[in-house]
């Protein structure tokens, strides 16, 4: 392979810069008359307008608030349920098959049902978000607890740990990477579900509603701005979760897989 002159740290920027240049040139020289291809400056102007007028803060605030409430409810319920299934063989056999069947139903198929049961307001959205966060947490908690090595449990028996001590000192630490992976996944799913809930339960405020609004009025600049914001939020959530995960699992002495 030919040696290139571009130093390594800069290579990642080549493709985005080329795309941006192509976009800018295409609008500048009028290669297309489509009103949909808005110039980059226009997107920038929209971005500035949205940020300074406080519209972005309002929409993003509404979305994030729902996202976090739903995530908190769903993941804590998921932790409890996953721990129950993982710890008790009886619970696993009674509830496990029903859970694994329900989990097969594609997440978004629940929305029409939830909208009948909870209306189109925040209650339905939060219920849906909780559902989205619930499944990955249950699965990973369950698997984490199930895969605690038998040797460790024998250590607990040798040391005559009480049930609480066994959980506190052996099972939870040993299952924690898997549990954190589940919570991390839940955070990503909840963000996806936030957008889905806003598209499908069209009422109220949120970044998804902003994008729908842009689409309906053919405001490409607003839609593009929305795409960028959604990406940045996803990135930020992911980054925060990775940091917390790395911190919480630092005692294990190795980094865990990133998503």
């Amino acid at each position: 392979m030919a040696r290139t002159f571009i130093p390594r740290p800069l290579r990642g920027w080549v493709l985005p810069a080329a795309l941006l240049a192509a976009w800018w040139l295409a609008t500048r020289w009028g290669w297309t008359t489509s009103p949909l291809l808005v110039p980059p400056e226009k997107v920038w102007a929209t971005a500035v307008e949205q940020v300074t007028s406080g519209k972005l803060a309002a929409a993003l605030g509404a979305s994030l608030r729902r996202d976090l409430i739903g995530f908190a409810i769903g993941s804590s319920a998921g932790l409890l349920f996953g721990a129950l299934l993982g710890a008790s063989r009886l619970a696993d056999r009674l509830l496990g098959p029903s859970f694994h069947t329900l989990k097969q139903i594609s997440l978004f198929a629940w929305i029409p049902l939830l909208s009948v049961w909870f209306g189109l307001g925040d209650a339905a959205k939060v219920a849906f978000l909780s559902l989205a966060a619930f499944f990955p947490v249950v699965l990973n908690t369950y698997e984490g607890i199930r895969s605690v090595p038998a040797d460790l449990l024998e250590v607990a028996r040798v040391l005559r740990f009480t049930r609480w001590q066994t959980w506190r000192h052996l099972i939870l630490p040993s299952a924690s990477p898997s549990i954190f992976a589940g919570v991390h996944l839940a955070l990503i799913y909840a963000w996806l579900a936030t957008l889905g809930a806003e598209y499908l339960l069209v009422s109220g405020q949120g970044i998804g509603n902003t994008m729908i609004d842009g689409r309906e009025h053919f405001w490409m600049d607003l839609v593009l701005f929305g795409v960028i914001v959604v990406g940045l939020v996803g990135f930020a959530l992911n980054w925060i979760a990775s940091r917390i995960e790395a911190r919480a699992l630092a005692w294990r002495g190795r980094s865990v897989a990133q998503f």
């Binding site: 985005p16 978004f108 198929a109 499908l200």
Partner: protein, 279 residues
């Protein structure tokens, strides 16, 4: 930082309390099978009673019989099969495109650090925007026809497949490569005998995630922009306040998701079966 295993004096006090009674379950496969039923049956019974005594209006919760009848009726009239076929073709088309693109991207990035340097940051940035973030943009660009569905479904499948393939190839232990060098493998032999077999498990995981995500994306796209398919059946039933249609379609969506997953598990056994024998 906290110690994972902390054994102090205070734990000695726990000695007397230890032998906790734990009850054993019958180790029979049949007992296991039997225990799966009480909960669903209780829910079904409760549902049936609620519908029968009209605790909840039938528009909000139709009776189980109504759902079963609707399901049977739409299967008999062929409506269900027509919608199912549309959905399956879409998901297969989108998944196929995503699979091909994802494998290509993952393999190229995994094998060549130079290509990876150029592509990976952009790929990562694009993949940060969830499938649904692209939807309004693509609706404007390509309309709401088949192209929209195929693009979104293939994007949903592509990201996990590309990522897992790339990481799988990166994760091939260098010792294996060294063995290949010692044996003077050609480039092609190295790929086919060493790299791919070693990376197969993570790649396959990516493929499974890809199919799950593709099915998820299909349902969303059909809910939002479609005039046929299982998702459309759900929207249509919702608009007419016929929850029996909605629930029947939801059942089918779940069943297909389950079957797709089982199908992949079956392929996995054939594909990765040799690994278990080796261990």
């Amino acid at each position: 930082m906290e110690q994972p295993l902390h054994i102090g004096l205070e734990h000695r006090a726990a000695v007397a309390r230890f032998p906790t009674p734990r009850w054993r379950l019958p180790h029979l496969a049949f007992g296991r099978w039997l225990l799966a039923w009480p909960v669903p049956l209780a829910v079904l019974a409760l549902w049936w009673l609620a519908a029968r005594h009209e605790w909840i209006a039938p528009q909000v919760l139709p009776s189980p019989e109504a759902v079963a009848l609707t399901l049977a009726e739409s299967a008999r009239s062929g409506e269900l099969w027509a919608n199912l076929q549309v959905s399956l073709l879409r998901v297969l088309g989108g998944f196929g495109v995503g699979l091909a693109g994802g494998l290509l991207l993952g393999v190229v990035m995994g094998l060549s650090p130079t290509v990876k340097d150029y592509l990976y940051p952009t790929f990562k940035a694009f993949s940060q925007v969830p499938v649904l973030g692209w939807l309004p943009l693509l609706m404007l660009l390509v309309g709401i026809d088949e192209a929209l569905k195929i693009i979104l479904i293939s994007k949903a499948a592509l990201v996990p497949i590309a990522l897992n393939t790339y990481k799988g190839i990166q994760g091939v232990p260098t010792r294996y490569i060294e063995v290949g060098r010692v044996l003077r493998f050609s480039r092609w032999q190295m790929l086919s005998r060493v790299v791919f077999p070693a990376a197969l498990a993570p790649i396959w995981n990516g493929v499974r995630y890809g199919l799950t995500h593709a099915w998820l994306a299909l349902v969303v796209v059909e809910l939002l922009a479609s005039s046929e398919g299982l998702g459309y059946m759900i929207v249509f039933g919702r608009q007419l306040f016929q929850l029996d249609v909605v629930l029947a379609a939801v059942v089918v969506v779940g069943a297909v998701g389950y079957l797709l997953d089982k199908l992949l598990a079956l392929v996995e056994q054939r594909l990765l079966g040799w690994r278990k024998e080796g261990l």
